[in-house]
């Protein structure tokens, strides 16, 4: 038996943890694929998923403490939601806008994650507007002297918004316990990075806000995890925010309504497929004797079964009563404690 401690790059993770990491990545991939399939079958009117970005998502989320740290995600973060504790059933109920959907009972779009008990905060579809919320949550943690860290996730496109700048600035001033995670996938829908910014790297911008920015190979889950761990320590030690730029690629179109052939060459996509984070991590696992090919296949089989079951469950679950659309505009009397 290989002692994991001896494996360079494993960051002290146990074999079980490494396999759990793999499982979350593979699960995220499978849920994303299922959502796009349900869309093609005409069952879900819209799908936005994150295939290709699983290492960036799972690597960061693995460094967080579910239910204690706060998650302010964006619409690609299936891997984050699953790692923090949401289930394929939760996500597919949202995908098919069922009454039981914890994110909003079918009100918000799919992949607009929310789960109060897991401290996953509801987000809108407006790019960038969630980032000040993360800063405010972290401000509250600091004022209340609570051991909580807030992680917020966004794409490269969001880094052009005013809310992004204002939030980075605010968090820097107050040295807030917040981690800004940019999933740099090089496109805001069709607009490439070179038309979004004059600088090479998102991370370099952190200097202007007085805290470190780290660029990391976002398709290397262990590298992402290491960087996130450091950001966590900084946050918990009162040293303030960290900006993480996880360099990755979205292997699928922007959404089910997008045709990425209009703006990306197939050669470019093929090049990135060679760096698929899931394939890279499974190779690493096998190479280091953490598990063998058949172990990983067994994990995959269980995932397929779990996703099938979740999908069947969600398909038969009822949609909310139409007239319930009038409720919850304001906090209702009986909800006030």
């Amino acid at each position: 038996m290989v002692s994991v401690k001896d494996i360079p790059g494993a960051s002290g993770l146990t074999k079980e943890q490494l396999l759990a990491m793999y499982q979350k990545m593979a699960l995220a991939r499978a849920v994303g694929e299922r959502e796009r399939m349900l869309n093609r079958l005409g069952k879900g009117p819209f799908a936005v998923t994150g295939e290709g970005q699983e290492a960036a998502q799972v690597g960061v989320a693995f460094a967080l403490r579910p239910g204690q740290d706060w998650i302010v995600p964006y619409y690609r973060d299936i891997g984050v939601a699953l790692t923090i504790g949401q289930t394929p059933r939760d996500l597919l109920l949202a995908h098919l806008f069922r009454a039981e959907d914890i994110s909003g009972g079918g009100r918000n779009m799919p992949s607009h994650f929310s789960d109060p008990k897991l401290r996953i905060v509801s987000t809108s579809a407006c790019v960038g507007t969630q980032i000040p919320h993360a800063v405010g949550i972290a401000l509250a943690s600091k004022l209340r002297k609570l051991d909580e860290v807030t992680a917020t996730f966004f794409g490269d496109g969001a880094t052009s918004t005013g809310d992004w700048h204002e939030s980075m600035n605010f968090a820097g001033i107050h040295k807030l316990p917040v981690i800004f995670v940019c999933e740099q996938n090089w496109y805001a829908i069709s607009v490439p990075w070179r038309k979004q910014a004059a600088v090479e790297s998102v991370a370099s911008r952190a200097e202007g806000y007085g805290f470190p920015g780290v660029s990391v190979d976002g398709n290397d889950v262990l590298a992402v995890y290491r960087v996130a761990k450091q950001a966590m320590s900084r946050a918990r030690d009162g040293e303030g925010p960290t900006l993480i730029e996880a360099v990755t690629y979205r292997l699928v179109p922007h959404t089910s309504d997008d045709d990425d052939r209009r703006y990306r060459s197939r050669e470019e996509v093929e090049e990135w497929k060679k760096k698929d984070p899931l394939i890279r991590f499974s190779a690493w696992i096998e190479e280091h004797g953490i598990a063998d090919h058949s172990d990983l296949e067994r994990i995959q089989e269980k995932i397929a079964q779990e996703v099938d079951e979740a999908s069947e469950y969600a398909e038969q679950a009822p949609v909310a009563e139409p007239e319930s659309a009038l409720r919850h505009v304001y906090v209702e009397e009986e909800e006030v404690v």
Binding site: G105, R107, C126, P132, G136, L143, N169, V329
Partner: protein, 327 residues
């Protein structure tokens, strides 16, 4: 009992609420030094820089961070230094604060107060004079308050702070030091969504809010003295939700209604009041539902005579009352 101006009453409301509940914080530009209107004077000394927090000049982040803090056990009061400069926060208010509860099917809520000094008549020019209540009254999920008097300001601000929803609290700048009013020493609140009949009358109902309440009362007194007309003046105090029952009951009694607001005419909040009356009190009407408002130009030019020319005042209101009474 002590006599207070409206700005003092607002300061007292924040002070007393922050004393009562240490989850409450005030955040905004220059609030630590008392604020440009002195509304937060003394709060820094009493509560320290964490609870009376100076922020960078970034309205969207002030509101956005306040929303975030409200999700994590804090009850923030976010101050917009001027209503005219709250527009950078529009997205946060409309897309986030107002919709968070609804989109999450009631699982998240945003207990937040956004205070903003608004209104014209102070030589503020086009960027320190705007009325913004109509923008926000249009948005489900928000409550919108427009205060005119010290007593109401204090009682309604306390209600706003204790309300579990996002509340836009608009303070007319010209009403800040317009008059003094006796304020009880003990804790009291004024309910959100309840109008007040500020003057009883039988010939006509005048519906208004904000600074126009003062102008309308003056006009009502003038027409009483000079023309023997009895005008009932209703101060809505809250424009969302607004007190339809009180307005309809009065219109049923008087049969005529004049709606007075400072904002420019088209799409102003008074248009909603007019439409409701036209639909729900049609059988009781004895004259056209009439509005007095500013004309549709950007409010307001810096030059005094131009500004005065545009804004409703007691004379214009009195003249509209006479015309409607003669109908």
């Amino acid at each position: 009992m002590a006599e207070k101006t409206m700005v003092e009453a607002i300061r007292d409301a924040m002070f007393e609420e922050m004393k009562r509940d240490d989850r409450i914080i005030l955040m905004g530009e220059d609030v630590g030094s008392g604020g440009v209107f002195r509304a937060s004077e003394g709060l820094l000394d009493e509560f320290g820089p964490e609870r009376c927090m100076d922020t960078p000049l970034a309205e969207s982040c002030i509101v956005g961070a306040a929303i975030g803090a409200s999700l994590n056990g804090i009850l923030p009061i976010a101050e917009m230094q001027f209503a005219s400069f709250s527009h950078p926060a529009f997205d946060q208010i409309i897309s986030e604060a107002a919709r968070m509860h609804y989109r999450s099917n009631g699982t998240w809520s945003v207990p937040l107060v956004i205070r903003a000094p608004y209104g014209a008549g102070i030589h503020g020019g086009p960027y320190h004079s705007q009325s913004i209540e109509a923008f926000y009254a249009h948005v489900p999920g928000l409550k919108v308050i427009c205060v005119a008097t010290p007593y109401d300001a204090k009682g309604l601000l306390k209600s706003a702070i204790r309300d579990p929803n996002p509340v836009i609290f608009l303070e007319h700048k010209k009403a800040y030091r317009l008059s003094r009013q006796e304020i009880p020493d003990e804790d009291y609140t004024v309910p959100i969504g309840k109008a007040e009949i500020k003057r009883e009358g039988s010939d006509m109902t005048l519906v208004t809010y904000g600074l126009m309440t003062h102008h309308s009362l003056k006009a009502a007194e003038t027409v009483q003295d000079e023309d023997g007309l009895s005008v009932e003046v209703i101060d809505l105090r809250t424009v969302s939700p607004w007190d339809r029952e009180a307005v309809l009951a009065s219109v049923e009694k008087t049969g005529k209604v004049l709606i007075v607001y400072e904002d420019n005419l088209t799409g102003g909040f008074g248009a909603e009041v007019a439409a409701t009356i036209a639909q729900d009190a049609f059988d009781h009407l004895d004259g056209p539902v009439t509005r007095v408002a500013s004309p549709d130009v950007p409010i307001a030019p810096f030059a005094g005579p131009l500004e005065e020319y545009l804004l409703p005042n007691p004379e214009k209101i009195a003249s509209a009352i006479r015309d409607l009474a003669a109908y």
